[in-house]
């Protein structure tokens, strides 16, 4: 079914898809290496996930089941908008259940549920160059990647440790892929970094505005940069989810009043709902009466 007439399946023409697939193949062959591609102007603005959308459009087939999340949630406005875009242009089945999806497009999170070999996760990437904050010239960073010259980043981490006692990067925490390329994992919280390591699913990264695609093939080593005496550590808000009681999921902090009231809830809405359906109850979950009143 193609709901939007006048456009090809999944919006992009087949020539463009072929060009993107070639870039993806190259990216998979050189894990963590940024492959330039002829990024197109999409009907959504740069910065809204045009890279991820182009990658998804290039790998999406009619039998795929698509899940789109933003900040871990299926119902954030941009996730709704992108899911709807593919609903209109490709007519594919969409889902919010991580386990049901064959293709997951994400912004800023990796689902809590472990991904499988038969799944692909597509990350939206605002800035594919992990060295961009240290060296603004892309001609120069390209040279640094070529020579695997990553001392600048190690110095940055070292300076953080001497100044603050620990690394101050909390998201988009740089990783070394397959012991070769320094890679930006996209602005996922450092909490999610370990999920990338040896992940059974194929991980694809699309940066539309910066016109780069990169990939981490299944079962590839992804190491968050650290030092032997200052090993990489993840942090999360030290609370249990108010709704499902999870103590190991990444939490959003919701402001409930103007007197410092806070509620911590799972950022991964599917994970939270699945747990609640299985009978897990958090300390601040609404009672049946309150739900009925909604």
């Amino acid at each position: 079914m193609n709901a939007l007439s006048g456009y090809n399946f999944a919006y992009l023409d087949e020539q463009t898809k072929r060009m993107i697939r070639r870039a993806i193949l190259k990216a998979v062959a050189i894990p963590g290496h940024q492959v330039p591609f002829g990024s197109r102007e999409m009907p959504l603005p740069y910065g809204w996930g045009t890279g991820g959308i182009q990658v998804t459009a290039a790998v999406l087939g009619p039998s795929d089941v698509l899940k789109v999340i933003d900040q871990g949630a299926d119902d954030t406005t941009n996730a709704v908008s992108i899911r709807r875009f593919f609903g209109r242009t490709a007519g594919v089945r969409t889902t919010t259940a991580t386990a049901e999806a064959t293709l997951i497009q994400t912004r800023h999170r990796i689902p809590e549920t472990a991904l499988r070999e038969d799944q692909i996760i597509v990350y939206q990437v605002p800035q594919p160059e992990p060295l961009s904050k240290l060296e603004p010239s892309r001609a120069e960073t390209r040279r640094m990647h070529g020579l695997a010259e990553y001392g600048l980043m190690h110095v940055k981490l070292y300076e953080d440790i001497t100044r603050f006692g620990h690394v101050s990067i909390s998201y988009d925490y740089p990783v070394l892929v397959n012991s070769r390329y320094l890679m930006a994992p996209s602005p996922i919280p450092a909490f999610d970094n370990p999920k990338m390591h040896m992940m059974p699913a194929l991980q694809l990264f699309g940066a539309g505005r910066e016109k780069r695609i990169y990939a981490v093939p299944p079962y590839t080593a992804v190491k968050s940069l650290d030092f032997d005496d200052h090993p990489f550590r993840t942090t999360r808000a030290p609370h249990a989810c108010g709704l499902c009681g999870a103590t190991d999921s990444y939490l959003d902090e919701v402001v409930t009043d103007d007197r410092g009231g806070r509620l911590f809830v799972c950022s991964d809405t599917d994970h939270c709902e699945t747990r609640r359906a299985a009978g897990h109850v958090g300390a601040e979950a609404p009672t049946a009466d309150e739900l009925a009143a909604e």
């Binding site: 456009y7 330039p36 002829g38 990024s39 197109r40 102007e41 999409m42 603005p45 740069y46 910065g47 809204w48 045009t50 900040q71 949630a73 119902d75 954030t76 406005t77 941009n78 709704v80 709807r84 912004r107 800023h108 605002p126 892309r138 001609a139 603050f164 006692g165 620990h166 101050s168 909390s170 998201y171 988009d172 602005p187 996922i188 919280p189 450092a190 505005r209 016109k211 942090t235 999360r236 808000a237 108010g242 709704l243 990444y250 959003d252 902090e253 919701v254 409930t256 509620l263 809830v265 950022s267 809405t269 709902e273 601040e284 979950a285 609404p286 009672t287 309150e290 739900l291 909604e294």
Partner: protein, 360 residues
Amino acid sequence: MAYVAVKGGERAIDNAHAWLAEDRRGDPAVAEIGTDQIAEQLGRAVDRVMAEGSLYDRELAALAIKQAQGDLIEAAFLLRAYRTTLPRFAYSRPVDTAAMQIRRRISAVFKDLPGGQVLGPTYDYTHRLLDFALAAGGQPPPAPEAPADDMRMPRVSDILGHEGLIERDGAPDGEPGDLTREPLAFPAGRDLRLQALARGDEGFLLALGYSTQRGWGGTHPFVGEIRLGEVSVEIEPPELGFAIDIGDMTLTECQMVNQFAGSKTVPPQFTRGYGLAFGHAERKAMAMALVDRAMRAEELGEDVKAPAQNIEFVLYHSDNIEATGFVEHLKLPHYVDFQSELETVRRMRADAMRMQEAAE
């Protein structure tokens, strides 16, 4: 109130779009604006949207301006997104601006020259007094007309070129690149630089061009010539073997003439900065010519010190569709990354306070 995970993003988006449509229409008691009115009466806006949208189509540009409520960057974006979906039938032959049907042609370097100085429809010597009669409407009196003059107007750069005083047009080396199909790579040739400038943001180029005049990469420019008019566009289908005219387009061209002291291999001569824009767009064409020349600093052996001379800086930041996307994306949800920053800052504050207490 009990917290329930926020739902209903879909309905919120639908409702927002409905409100937007109502807002766009404005007071229904006021007559709706037609795209033909925009195309005819807001011509400079249409020109700018066509240039930055990289699509020469007055009707579509007018529609985009209407749809975007006059937000010209949004309108250029609409045009660009449409443009990407269009198939490429052919690449045109280079347009010949020497054969332009001139409406306006001025030179700041020669008092008179073959073809003369033609002011054309310009704001240059208007006094910027709000014209309240215009608010009342009505037809302007017809402008005086002169008999058509078939005299060719040679380009000033060609006149200077006879004496060897100005560098020649660069010889084209191979097919020009296409930055809408291939990602930009550095070093970027002048073909790609000019392409990027031609679709670049007028305001950005204006500011950069201005900066070169104030000493940030001075180029000592003179306006050799600005010309505005219609040129014919030709394609040469391979099955025909000869060129056919497929239509006319309005262009503004600026040839900036710049000092150059010469080098070991080249005697002193004038160099060029080149500007070309769709429609009537002198500010854009002039700014483009200044920045084009500034970006040639390295090629001409000048020091590269100023932003306008830094090719990577200029090309990566001149596109307003890219720029507006990335600046405005900051309003998308960032709960997760902000949360991670919150935890980090709390931890750092706790560490700092512990240290302070220990010191006291």
